[in-house]
Symmetry: C2
Subunit: 205 residues, 2 copies
């Protein structure tokens, strides 16, 4: 595990900065002020300056940030040139959507395998993959050096499968199941929770 | 729009506290220390105390929080008893997954309609809904008082559809498309961005 004194919330915002810089570059911007970048991302400009200061000096006082330069620096910080092997557990509608989500491969997250406990789904093709039985999970993780698992399964099964992923060598889990996973401290977990996103919007309505 | 002096990041954490309190209650916990709750959520206990202090006094010094009481207070703050009408644009695999995601209805987010621009999908049943053509979008929003739209469509179409949703009366958008939406200030937007979640995990690997 990479050691870091940078607060986790800062690390969570870095991909958002990178995404906005990509959008700005696609629209032809060469330079962006911290105010304009802040507006894109939806944080304050003081927050951006403070977040970036953890990694060095990227802007010039009064001149803002060079879009391409800052983008390349964030890509370096986030190691976006590393190729990661990812597997998905769950070959339902969500599994299908994830396998067909082009942004993963664009950012070097390579979907290596998909698994399902339902014998009727095993053997079916989805995109470039074929659904494998859960009995092959551990071997596949070890043979293909899979470090990231995506849980696209119901809450009832999520903890058991997460435990198995970790036992077999997975070090990070993207969890779509509506359930808090209890895992060892050194395992990274991100929870995609659309209800939480809804609640933080409807608070304001 | 509800006025609020509470920072937006605090509002984004409140649903996570509520989710963890529900998990704790399901496991039979009656009382939880801020340290234990912090461990569940993955923030510091100082953060929890500071976040909750925006809304009042919920714990007793040295005794922690009563799980059921704090949970009911968070439900009140987040207005979880309000029923919201939600529509989905995009009847692909992600649209299917969202319509079958039981957590929405459990939390009073009622999926009222689903739309797709593909004539081959219009008329198909998905769960309790039937796919409608885009031409019916505006009327449906107004007739059914839909306030929230979910974008489950490719990036190319997302900005145009978001503009139409807002024009027809939608006030909050949950965006699954890998694209930053540019919308009026008073429209709430949440972006579900699995690549950003991946990057904030792989930073540490």
């Amino acid at each position: 595990m990479r050691t870091s004194d940078v607060p986790e919330v800062v690390i969570q915002r870095m991909p958002l900065y990178l995404r906005s810089l990509n959008d700005l570059a696609a629209r032809g911007a060469k330079v962006v002020s911290s105010t304009a970048l802040a507006h894109e991302v939806g944080v304050s400009s003081a927050q951006i300056r403070k977040d970036l200061s953890h990694f060095g000096e990227f802007g010039k006082q009064g001149l803002g940030y060079e879009v391409d330069y800052l983008r390349s620096q964030l890509e370096r910080i986030l190691q976006t040139d590393t190729q990661w092997h990812v597997l998905i557990v769950g070959a339902g509608a969500l599994g299908h959507a994830l396998i067909n989500y082009r942004a993963f491969e664009h950012w070097n997250y390579y979907l290596s395998a998909v698994f399902d406990s339902d014998p009727a789904k095993v053997g079916q093709p989805i995109g470039h993959l074929t659904v494998q039985p859960m009995s092959e999970l551990c071997n596949t993780i070890q043979e293909r050096h899979v470090e990231i698992g995506i849980l696209a399964i119901p809450a009832e099964a999520a903890q058991t499968v997460a435990d198995e992923l970790v036992h077999c060598g997975v070090r990070a889990i993207l969890n779509y199941a509506p359930l808090h996973l209890v895992l060892p401290e050194d395992i990274r977990v991100s929870h995609i929770d659309p209800v939480a996103s809804m609640q933080s919007m409807t608070y304001y309505l």
